[in-house]
């Protein structure tokens, strides 16, 4: 599925197999899952911290736009692409 097809009403949350934590060696957040880890840039970390299953993608994008003093329209494709990638890898889930 292409990221543009993602509904903005979806409420993503981290899959149970993941653990989001700070990597003290690099000062960056890392998403751990069995045998692997995904080192996150500041935007990726900010997105995932909001993926609690309680906020919709549109609310997440609004929050990020405030946090990064950016435009929601500019952020949207980046956020949707990132979320879609993690959905495909089973690292994010959406409530059925």
């Amino acid at each position: 599925m292409s990221p543009e097809a993602l509904s903005l009403e979806l409420k993503p949350k981290l899959a149970p197999k993941t653990k989001l934590r700070l990597d003290p060696k690099t000062g960056k957040y890392i998403l751990l899952y069995p045998e692997k880890g995904l080192l996150l840039n500041p935007t990726g970390a900010a997105i995932l911290k909001l993926c609690t299953g309680e906020q919709s993608l549109s609310a997440i994008i609004e929050t990020l736009a405030e946090e990064f003093r950016s435009d929601a329209g500019v952020l949207r494709p980046e956020v949707l692409g990132f979320v879609q990638g993690l959905l495909d890898r089973g690292l994010l889930q959406v409530a059925p």
């Binding site: 149970p16 990597d23 899952y33 089973g90």
Partner: protein, 363 residues
């Protein structure tokens, strides 16, 4: 060592003891040389030192880690350092109650080995009745809301049932399915003639796994690990020697990989005598195969040398007698004939032994 040599994963082989006798066990064949020597306090210290070095992942492995009666305490210790802790288990012996205690202690995830989709062939490989228990354990893992990895070691006796194996993992609700072809070292090397598949068998299975991977995308992470005997280029063993992983054996040796202590001429330190920090940064054995200075040709001038690091040092030693040779699974290795001969024998039914040699502790 370089800045890039960063410990990410500690593999704690808590004991080499195991109720199963799998014919491809990756533990060393001289099991009795490495009895359990580390106390609870020793392991907790090792975890703390690994966390300080930067490790984020902890694999609790063996042998069978459930045989350690202090496993709950060890999991709690791991949790205190915020490790992603993965229990790598046969599922024997385990009750649902103990699994719940492990979860409550902070266990992150469970990997259960399953030998086949059918009980009889599964138990012929494992060397004892175990199939039902394994399915029960996998179900408890899901009931207790823990992430489940199903690990299946592939070989000529189960590759033809790969579709059924995938269906079984789906049925169990696995979050991750590791379809890992046998690595022909240790017990698997002793049983290689019996386990090595034919190329045709392998490519059929590979296509089925590939389709399943696509179909299950986002639901189950499906991994299909090719056997290096058929890949023409070696594996980046352990992502490079002393680069990402450190393994501690039941008797306390700190190693760069599962079988480094079978290589001659290298002295590995015990965690009872040195800290992981000293070992990681200053041990000559960890330095031995880091970087490229040790590499012979064809590795030294190969454009893939930073991708596969010359392959597996243990495979080089156990097949060619010299750990510093290019891994013979590489098509460019002067010893590659050892691999093509083994593949040719896999096409001669008359040469395939019927009786496996089970893992045993020889004293």
């Amino acid at each position: 060592m370089t800045q890039e040599d960063r410990l990410y994963t500690l593999i704690a082989e808590l004991t080499y003891l195991c109720p199963l006798r799998c014919v491809y066990c990756s533990n060393p064949t001289r099991l009795s040389d490495h009895p359990d020597r580390l106390s609870t306090a020793d392991w907790l210290r090792v975890f703390e030192q690994a966390a300080k070095l930067g490790a984020l992942q902890l694999n609790l492995s063996g042998g069978e880690p459930l045989l350690r009666r202090d496993l709950e305490e060890l999991v709690a210790g791991a949790q205190s350092h915020d490790f992603y802790s993965n229990l790598i288990t046969s599922g024997l012996p385990l009750t649902r109650e103990r699994l719940l205690r492990l979860k409550q202690a902070g266990l992150s995830s469970v990997q259960v080995s399953i030998q086949d989709s059918l009980p009889d062939p599964a138990e012929r490989i494992a060397g004892r009745a175990s199939f039902e228990q394994k399915l029960n354990v996998a179900r408890w893992v899901k009931e207790l809301d823990l992430p489940l990895t199903v690990n299946v070691v592939l070989h000529r006796r189960n590759l033809d049932r790969i579709a059924e194996i995938i269906a079984l993992a789906e049925n169990l609700g696995a979050d991750r399915l590791e379809l890992a072809n046998t690595q022909y070292l240790a017990w698997a090397l002793e049983n290689r003639a019996l386990l090595l598949p034919s190329e045709a068998q392998l490519s059929t299975a590979r296509a089925i796994a590939k389709a399943a991977k696509e179909r299950l995308k986002g639901k189950i992470e499906v991994l299909f690990v090719l056997p290096d005997y058929y890949s023409d280029r070696p594996k980046a063993c352990m992502s490079g020697w002393g680069k990402r992983y450190l393994l501690v054996t039941p008797d306390g040796l700190a190693l760069p990989c599962h079988l480094a202590h079978t290589l001659p001429g290298l002295h590995f330190d015990s965690v009872q005598e040195r800290s992981l920090d000293e070992i990681w940064h200053h041990s000559p054995a960890f330095a031995a195969f880091r970087g490229e200075a040790w590499m012979p040709e064809p590795c030294r001038s190969c454009e893939r040398r930073e991708l596969d690091f010359g392959g597996c040092r243990c495979q080089a030693f156990h097949l060619t007698g010299n750990a510093a040779n290019t891994d013979p699974t590489c098509g460019l290795s002067p010893h590659h004939g050892l691999i093509t001969e083994a593949r040719a024998r896999a096409l001669e039914p008359a040469l395939i032994p019927l009786a496996p040699r089970y893992r045993e502790i020889r004293r």
